[in-house]
């Protein structure tokens, strides 16, 4: 056996130890001899809690560098990052503090922006910063949301809890009761009529078939003319695009919009005390805003919980007055939404009352000046949506058909059924055409089978904002607050 001297043994021992040390150091990454490679970037965060120096910096989950220093500057956390030389960080990258794994190691994720944005150089600053809901924040947020929701419900109850409100609610409930009680009856009674409708419909579709056959031959005969027509259409659509562009430019000039909203709000304020209060109360805005953003921050990356607020005014030609709608649409899933709507109808709310005048009992349809409320649940099947619930303070349902990638909607709704047949149900058919993300126009025929002379064609404009836009509006539009 080879006998080793003490020196040789110690030498081998030290050698093995050093090899292991170097191996492990290289393995766990980045022992740097001499000057560290890469370049330095800085980023400022409101809160860098949980982040340690040497925390990793990742793009798409891949480590691209390390946090070298964490400093406090102007009450913000300033991070000095060391980025590997071969990695390019664009100027429009967004820095987000994230947590990996169960045990919560914090790291900084850089979310890429557009691919052709210029890259940051040594010493550059990542200016875009986002915050993600983490556990701690989420809990606080949920508490806030809960109290906000409480406030909102309190506001609503104060609105609905007044004498007027109570009456409104009672009516809604009563209407609903009526609907459920008599829905069977109506179906039975109208059975015959339905079948005739079906027969008519069959005839109608047959004639459409004929028409289309005629159309075909027409097209073949007038090919050239059609071509010109298409050209014209093209030009028209180009013009339309220009128009839309202008509209788009106008859109950011929120002030104008605000002032119109303001005037509407004022009008509401003058017209109706309680609801005006609800709408004009600054705390309501705030609470609503906070609640919405809170809910959205929570849901965030998973299936996005979308919230829309819209207003539309429809000018009733026969009435020479405007019917206003203010609605809140909450869309927890792409194929499902809840709609809450406040409707200001110049014709008022109709009631049929039995009045006894001099011994003779007659039923009279009276109108009263008050807001109508809608609360609907809608479910969408491909391009068709069916909704139902309370429409304009009475039970009802509606069918919507979407076309051209949702830019055009044809809507039919039926509500305010009077099962004593003293008046006809309120039917409305119309179309909505979106001009861009925010603005749309509507046209149609409202209450077209009215016995009381309420039928009227209408033309309207409106806008719809998603909660993100809304946030911007509320924070930068003090004019809405009294």
């Amino acid at each position: 056996m080879l006998k080793l001297s003490a020196e040789a043994k110690v030498g081998i021992f030290v050698f093995i130890g050093l090899i292991l040390l170097v191996y492990m150091s290289l393995r766990v990454g980045g022992i740097k001899f001499g000057r560290e490679e890469g370049y330095t970037l800085t980023v400022r965060l409101d809160n860098a809690s949980g982040l340690d120096t040497n925390a990793s910096v990742r793009v798409a989950g891949v480590e691209v560098g390390r946090v070298r220093k964490i400093l406090l500057e102007d009450n913000k956390a300033k991070l000095v990052l060391r980025i590997r030389p071969e990695v390019k960080i664009g100027k429009d990258f967004t820095a987000v503090l994230r947590t990996s794994g169960m045990l919560g190691e914090r790291y900084l994720e850089l979310i890429p922006g557009s691919p052709n944005a210029p890259s940051l150089e040594e010493g550059g600053d990542i200016t875009r910063v986002a915050t993600y809901a983490d556990m701690e924040k989420l809990i606080n947020l949920l508490a806030d949301v809960a109290s906000d929701v409480k406030n909102v419900t309190a506001s609503f109850s104060s609105v609905l809890g007044g004498n007027e409100g109570e009456a409104t609610l009672k009516n809604i409930v009563k209407n609903l009761e009526e609907v459920t009680e008599n829905v069977n009856a109506i179906i039975k009674e109208n059975d015959k009529r339905f079948s005739t409708v079906m027969v008519n419909f069959e005839d109608f579709s047959a004639s459409i078939k004929d028409a289309s056959r005629n159309l075909n031959s027409l097209i073949v005969e007038n090919k050239d003319n059609l071509k010109g027509g298409v050209e014209n259409l093209k030009n028209a659509s180009l013009k339309l695009e220009e128009a839309m562009d202008t509209l788009n430019k106008i859109a950011p000039k929120v002030e104008d919009t605000i002032s119109s909203v303001d005037s509407i709000a004022k009008k509401i304020d003058r017209g109706e005390g309680t609801l005006g209060k609800l709408i004009n109360d600054p705390t309501t805005h705030e609470i609503l805003n906070k609640t919405l953003s809170g809910i959205n921050n929570y849901i965030d990356r998973t299936e996005r919980f979308r919230t829309f607020v819209s207003y539309r005014g429809e000018f009733l030609f026969d009435e020479q007055d405007t019917k206003n709608y203010l609605s809140l649409k909450v869309q927890p899933k792409a194929d499902k939404y809840y709609l809450f709507e406040v409707v200001d109808d110049p014709r008022g709310r109709r009631k049929t009352e039995t009045v006894t005048i001099g011994g003779a009992t007659t039923s009279v349809t009276k109108t009263s000046q008050e807001f109508k409320l809608s609360l609907e649940l809608a479910k969408r099947f491909e391009d068709l949506a069916i909704r139902g619930g309370v429409i304009e303070s009475s039970g009802g349902f509606g069918i919507d058909y979407y076309m051209l990638k949702d830019r055009v909607k044809i809507a039919f709704e039926a509500f305010d059924f009077d099962f004593n047949k003293k008046r006809n149900p309120h039917l409305k058919i119309g179309t909505l055409v979106r001009l861009n993300k925010y603005f749309f126009v509507t046209a149609g025929y409202d209450d077209f089978i009215s016995k009381d002379g309420f039928e009227s064609a209408y033309l309207g404009v409106g806008f719809e904002f998603e909660d993100e836009d809304l946030k911007y509006l509320f924070t930068s539009a003090p004019s809405i607050k009294p």
Binding site: A6, S25, M102
Partner: protein, 256 residues
């Protein structure tokens, strides 16, 4: 009553003298590191004794500790569905705490006691006196090489303990607990930094000093024959272990 105070007073005096002597010895030993002639042979002999001869016991404890850590952390982490963190748990525990501390405790038990016994025997059989009368400084001749050996060998032993601990953890995690080997190594590499290893190695320098200094001190100042030698060995282990754990706490709080 008076007796009590006298005893307390004596204890205080003893404590102060022990600490004082210890630092004096340390100061002398360190001083002689820089004073030639160097007794390389002596140093190498002590390195062999402290380092090479502790290798077996350190590998044994290191690997078993790694294995037990993997098993235990697996049980705990499984509840959170975080089995992939077994690797980092083992590696970080070994690198930062268990590697240096266990190595130090094992070396104290093995080499510290032997050192105290050897020096204690030399003291009671007048070998240290003999050295002195031969105009040889016993501190330079006996203690300096031991402290140098402790300072240089403990970090290396610690690195070896870390390594076999991770290997042991890997063995248990991958072959017995069916953790994906790629995940095990990948997560380990993700979570462990060079700093973590260096941090443990830095600690082990101090532990190496403590072990050899305490053992040398206990042996060097042995009185009372064979019984005294036994006491010195026991004290070297007890005082050494206590000081290692206390200084580990202090070092940890300083370094973080």
């Amino acid at each position: 009553m008076r007796e009590l105070f006298e005893r307390l007073g004596r204890m205080a005096v003893t404590a102060v003298t022990v600490t004082g002597n210890m630092f004096l010895i340390l100061a002398q030993a360190v001083y002689f590191i820089f004073i030639p002639p160097y007794k390389l042979r002596n140093i190498v002999k002590q390195m062999e004794f402290v380092g090479v001869k502790s290798l077996f016991v350190v590998i044994l404890t290191g690997s078993f500790t790694g294995m037990v850590l993997a098993m235990q952390s697996f049980n705990a982490l499984k509840r959170f569905g975080a089995e992939s963190l077994v690797g980092p748990t083992v590696a970080l525990s070994m690198a930062r705490e268990l590697g240096p501390v266990l190595t130090a405790l094992m070396v104290t038990g093995r080499a510290g006691s032997a050192m105290a016994t050897e020096l204690g025997t030399m003291r009671v059989t007048e070998q240290i006196d003999a050295l002195y009368t031969m105009a040889i400084n016993p501190v330079k001749y006996l203690i300096t090489p031991r402290i140098v050996a402790g300072l240089s060998m403990l970090p290396i032993l610690t690195v070896i303990t870390d390594f076999v601990g991770v290997i042991g953890g890997y063995f248990v995690g991958v072959t017995l607990l069916n953790i994906n080997p790629g995940v095990y190594i990948g997560r380990t590499v993700d979570f462990v930094n060079v700093d973590d290893i260096m941090y443990g190695v830095t600690k082990s320098f101090f532990f190496g000093l403590i072990i050899t200094l305490v053992a040398s001190y206990q042996g060097f100042y042995t009185t009372g024959g064979a019984e005294g030698v036994g006491r010195a060995a026991t004290n070297a282990v007890v005082v050494g272990c206590v000081l290692i754990l206390v200084s580990d706490y202090i070092l940890t709080s300083i370094m973080f």
